[in-house]
Amino acid sequence: MLYINCPHCGLRSQNEFAYGGDATVKRPELNKEISDQEWDNFVYLRKSPRGKHLELWHHISGCRQWIKVERDTSTHEIFKTYKANEAIE
């Protein structure tokens, strides 16, 4: 079970969190004309990298904040965690 350092609460067990997918996906702006391809990329297409991956976790049984976690998908090593709108190094 992962041990995730919530930037708001500190180290907490994985079972307090829900996984939220790729954190690098950016929603297209509202009312912006975009191609089908761009929209398709946003809604459906995700990379599935082996190695470092920036992902979203939701601290549902804690502070209810969405956080960003930089994790290695093969070793589960967590390098750093960020608040929702913190700049990513």
Binding site: N31, D36, I60
Partner: protein, 998 residues
């Protein structure tokens, strides 16, 4: 039966307390502190089971977790417990165990015919034989294999025992209380670290219990007792026996199973049977020790052949002799310790040492004790079927290929030692790669992957002096990283006699003309010849060889067979062991009972149960409940002999004719607050929200980004910057997460807060033509006229002294209101509604009547919004704004969503007006069409229309709106029904929606 093999005054069992138990129905005696194995051996019993494949007789091979043979089935408090290792299970008064995998008895087992057919049961037998025809699998092969396989039977009854889970955090977890575990625990504890020391066995000390050593001028046992006593007295240390750390998971999470009551006749009150510990440790020291390796020779699975360390432990810990004419077969000094122990207890052993000319203090001691030692000697084969009676022994050439002077000598047990295999399982589970240590012919952990270090013999360190010193250092180092107290204790002096040399010999060649089975894996009956066959057939990868031959796949997971198997493969392939590699170690290290894994989450505790504040009223009034997510909701209120159908019809009819009241507390409620709340809702919902006035509610639909409907509900503007959102019961949690996602990550610039208020409000929906009259009486000071409180209006008022919120919204399609009060006042509100409503013929109605009402109105719910529908499919196009953007809007342009033949919501009525259409039925044009019959759509919800007194269903079918008026068929292959139906509008009752606005 008397305990003929029990020694006087030797061992650690409690001679004061005699315990009786039954094995295969026969009564035996042992002492408190005995395991089943030690007690049976004391009684001279060595035949306890049959092997998996050939049903060969099985005795005892080890003395702990590595035991491959003695697996029994236990009865305790009328509960069955299979897969019990006799070497671990302690006896208690009244214990009953029996042998498994034998019929009719362990002494005479019909399955043993396999032993004589063994030429027909080579490796891969099942793969080769049970191939064709495929139709034979289900009825012939599988039942046959199932009957023949398995060790014991699991109980099919509900397990009444209690199992607990515990979460623990520590600075340092130490897995094993042998010399390295004790030394490191002591060093770390003295340096102020929070330490957990876990020992699998009932007694602490590991090898110190049985080896003839001296630490700090004390015997191993004395030193162990002193350290354990001191550790137990320290507040920063937890010491646990009967506790096996069996799994090493991510981020230094380890799981340990503690057997609290397994050794007791009955689980004590307030204690669980077993406890599973989830331990998050800053640092881990793996001191899991090592397991003695067998030597491979002919018939080496005969009862009476066992590990020499096991024979020693039976003597020193349990005071039990495994035989009175022992043969010790060894390639290292460990066998000598066992021999000396026999000698001390008045038994004359013979040592066969494969080495030609070894020397060490312990060999000298053995010689001085006049123990007969034969160097360059091996056991060729054990003789005897159910117990060793003699052994063929021979001199072996220096190249270990030739046997000379084969002779038969009498013996009643053969104690083997093929040196030691470090238990690297936990280190390996941590992610640690292993490396091969040529000196000890075994794998040891390589670089640490997580915060872990392996110490002692688990790390391939076999001298006590080095072990103790290294363990003291490591205990200090890892604790000092955390505590920084620099409190170092001094390392005691150590005296040990044996050397760590060993002969790289492990398998005795077959003499000419003999074809003895030489076993590697004792539980799965994998012999040298099976591995040879697998390699001849082209299996190369050790992982493939393992799966083809089942080497190491038994419940002992190859603890004794692994390395010998690798040796054999590398010998045949002309490789060295590290080139062959080893198979993956996975948790659990030892079998864990399912009960312990499940813990307390059984029955009603498997999930929480949520009840509304009015629950007890429903109970008192004969409500029959239904699970709605984790909520319990009244499905209907039973009157007299009514069933579900009659009751729900009565309740729904009463709503249409008079007035009904329904508990709607379970609906999700979310407070949306902030200056940008309107803008936020406008983005979340498909319809327009910017102009909703204060005091008004609006129905809204929200989508996922892929255009699929996520949820629907009404949201009311309570004040300028405050909205009260409702969601469906099932989606409440998801919707909150969804809103938080957009507010925190996508549009953080919006100044809005959301919070769940589901549990803060109790809700009652009053619906029916009499509901306004009822409302007038409930709130006499309030203007509840159609003008004063119009459809989708909102008012706050006082309900007999209790503040209440009134929403004029309707799910039933009738004139209806929803009253919310603070949860604590819910019961009061409900009683008042029932009391005042009496004169208007009020009746409570449950979810079944609620469904009926919404279905005949064509209102969609979860069965239509099933994760596949977009708003257009559910006749919700009027709610989709063309002007503004919202979540999921861009997806609605997808060609699949705009195609004309999309399945859309319609109503379905049976032509005969009497046959109910099963939910899930397919709608087809021609019921006799060739299969697969092209399906137009499916029936999503069915009810008995109380308005028209005939069945009515909702369905989602292709090109739905254009199908209205057509005569089709509803087919339910499950119910074997074909019903002619007519497609009608989904708005079956009051299509203009006059009633809700009346």
């Amino acid at each position: 039966m008397s305990q003929d093999f029990r020694l006087d005054n030797v061992g650690m069992v409690n001679r004061e307390k005699k315990i009786s138990f039954k094995f295969n129905g026969k009564k035996y005696f042992g002492f408190e502190g005995d395991t089943i194995a030690s007690a049976l051996i004391a009684n001279g019993v060595h035949l306890v089971g049959r092997s998996f494949k050939y049903h060969r007789p099985r005795g005892f091979f080890g003395v702990g977790v590595d035991e491959p043979y003695a697996i029994l089935q236990l009865d305790r408090n009328k509960e069955r417990d299979p897969n019990i290792r006799a070497t671990e299970q302690e006896i208690f008064e009244g214990l009953e165990v029996k042998s498994v995998n034998c019929w009719p008895s362990v002494n005479f087992d019909i399955g043993a015919i396999n032993n004589f057919l063994k030429m027909f049961f080579p490796a891969g037998f099942y793969y080769k034989t049970f191939m064709w025809p495929p139709s034979f699998w289900y009825k012939i092969y599988e039942p046959f294999i199932r009957m023949a396989a398995g060790f014991g039977q699991a109980s099919i009854k509900h397990d009444k025992e209690r199992y607990e889970h515990k979460y623990e955090y520590c600075d340092l977890l130490i897995t094993g209380s042998g010399p390295s575990g004790l030394a490191s625990a002591y060093a770390a504890a003295k340096n102020g670290a929070r330490v957990i020391l876990a020992e699998d066995k009932p007694r602490f000390g590991g090898s110190l219990l049985t080896s003839d050593v001296n630490i700090g001028n004390q015997t191993g046992v004395e030193w162990t007792e002193k350290i354990i006593a001191e550790l137990k007295s320290m507040p920063n240390v937890t010491v646990k026996n009967r506790s096996q750390v069996f799994g090493y998971y991510d981020h230094n999470m380890l799981v340990m199973s503690e057997r609290i009551s397994d050794h007791l006749p009955k689980t004590q009150k307030y204690l669980p049977k077993q406890r599973l510990w989830y331990i998050r440790a800053n640092e881990v020291l793996i001191s899991s020790g090592s397991i003695e390796r067998p030597l491979v020779f002919g018939n080496n699975d005969t009862p009476g052949v066992m590990l020499s360390s096991a024979a020693k432990e039976y003597m020193k810990v349990y005071g039990v002799l495994v035989g009175k004419k022992p043969l010790i077969f060894t390639n290292n000094d460990s066998g000598y310790e066992t021999a000396i122990e026999f000698k001390k207890n008045g038994v004359n052993p013979i040592i066969l040492d494969t080495r030609s000319n070894p020397s060490s203090d312990i060999i000298t001691e053995a010689k001085n004790l006049n123990i007969e030692i034969k160097f360059s000697y091996v056991v060729v084969a054990a003789k005897g079927y159910k117990k060793v009676k003699s052994a063929d022994i021979a001199k072996i050439s220096d190249d270990k290929k030739e046997l000379f002077n084969i002779e038969n000598i009498k013996c009643d047990c053969i104690c083997v030692s093929g040196f030691w295999t470090p238990s690297i399982h936990l280190a390996s589970q941590s992610g640690n790669k292993s490396k091969f240590n040529e000196k000890i012919d075994a794998f040891v952990p390589d670089k640490s992957k997580q915060q872990e270090n392996t110490i002692g013999s688990a790390n391939g360190i076999f001298t006590l002096e080095e072990t103790i010193k290294d363990a003291f250092d490591k205990g200090f180092d890892v604790s000092n990283k955390i505590t920084e107290k620099n409190n170092k204790v001094s390392v005691p002096t150590v005296v040990e006699k044996k050397s760590t040399d060993h002969d790289k010999f492990w398998c005795v060649p077959l003499p000419k003309g003999k074809s003895y089975k030489r076993f590697l894996d004792f539980q799965n009956d994998v012999a040298v010849s099976d591995i040879e066959l697998a390699l001849r057939e082209g299996f190369r990868s050790i992982e493939h060889v393992k799966r083809y031959t089942t080497l190491g796949m038994a419940t002992d997971q190859g603890k004794t067979s692994n390395l010998n198997g690798l040796q054999l493969v590398s010998d045949i392939e002309n490789k060295v062991v590290p080139q062959v590699g080893h198979t993956t170690f996975r948790p659990p290290y030892t079998p864990v009972s399912i009960g312990a894994i499940v813990g307390r989450e059984v029955g009603k505790h498997s999930k929480p149960t949520r009840k509304s504040p009015m629950h007890s009223w429903h109970e008192k009034n004969n409500a029959v409940f239904v699970d709605a997510g984790v909520w319990l909701r009244p499905r209907y209120y039973k009157q007299g002999n009514e069933g579900l159908f009659e009751a729900s019809k009565r309740e729904a009819k009463n709503v249409r004719q008079n007035v009904g009241v329904c508990d709607v507390t379970t609906l999700g409620k979310i407070d949306v607050k902030g200056p940008d709340a309107a803008e936020f809702l406008n983005r979340v919902y498909t319809n327009a929200w910017l102009k909703l006035p204060v005091g008004k509610a609006r129905y809204g639909v929200m989508l996922r980004e892929d255009g699929i409907v996520m949820d629907d509900g009404t949201t009311t503007r309570i004040s300028e910057n405050h909205y009260h959102m409702t969601t469906t019961t099932a989606q409440a949690a998801n919707v909150l997460s969804h809103l938080e996602y957009y507010l925190q990550l996508v549009w953080p610039e919006l100044n809005v807060n959301v919070v769940s208020t589901t549990e803060q409000w109790a809700g009652a929906a009053i619906a029916g033509p009499n509901s306004r009259k009822l409302l007038m009486k409930l709130f006499p000071d309030l203007d509840v006229s159609n003008e004063g409180l119009p459809f989708m209006g909102y008012k706050e008022a006082d309900l007999f002294g209790v503040p209440a919120k009134i929403y004029r919204i309707s799910f039933s399609g009738e004139l209806a209101y929803e009253i919310n009060v603070e949860s604590d006042n819910g019961y009061f509100m409900w009683e008042k509604i029932m009391e005042v409503g009496q004169e208007f013929q009020i009746q409570p109605y449950g979810t079944e009547a609620l469904s009926t009402l919404r279905i005949e109105m064509g209102h969609v719910a979860g069965s239509e919004l099933d994760g596949r529908t977009i708003p257009y499919d559910a006749s919700l196009e009027g709610l989709v704004s063309k002007k503004k953007d919202f979540i999921g809007k861009r997806s609605l342009n997808r060609s699949a969503f705009t195609s004309t033949d999309r399945e859309k919501l319609v109503g379905v009525v049976p032509i005969d007006k009497t046959t109910s259409i099963p939910e899930g039925s397919y709608i087809v044009k021609d019921p006799k069409a060739k299969l697969p019959n092209p399906k137009l759509g499916h029936v999503s919800a069915s009810c008995w229309s109380v308005e028209y007194d005939n069945p009515f269903s909702l369905a989602i079918i292709k090109d739905g709106k254009n199908m209205i008026g057509q005569k089709l068929f509803a087919m339910s292959p499950l119910k074997n029904k074909t019903i002619p139906v007519e497609i009608v509008s989904s708005h079956y009752v009051d299509p203009e929606g006059k009633r809700v606005r009346s």
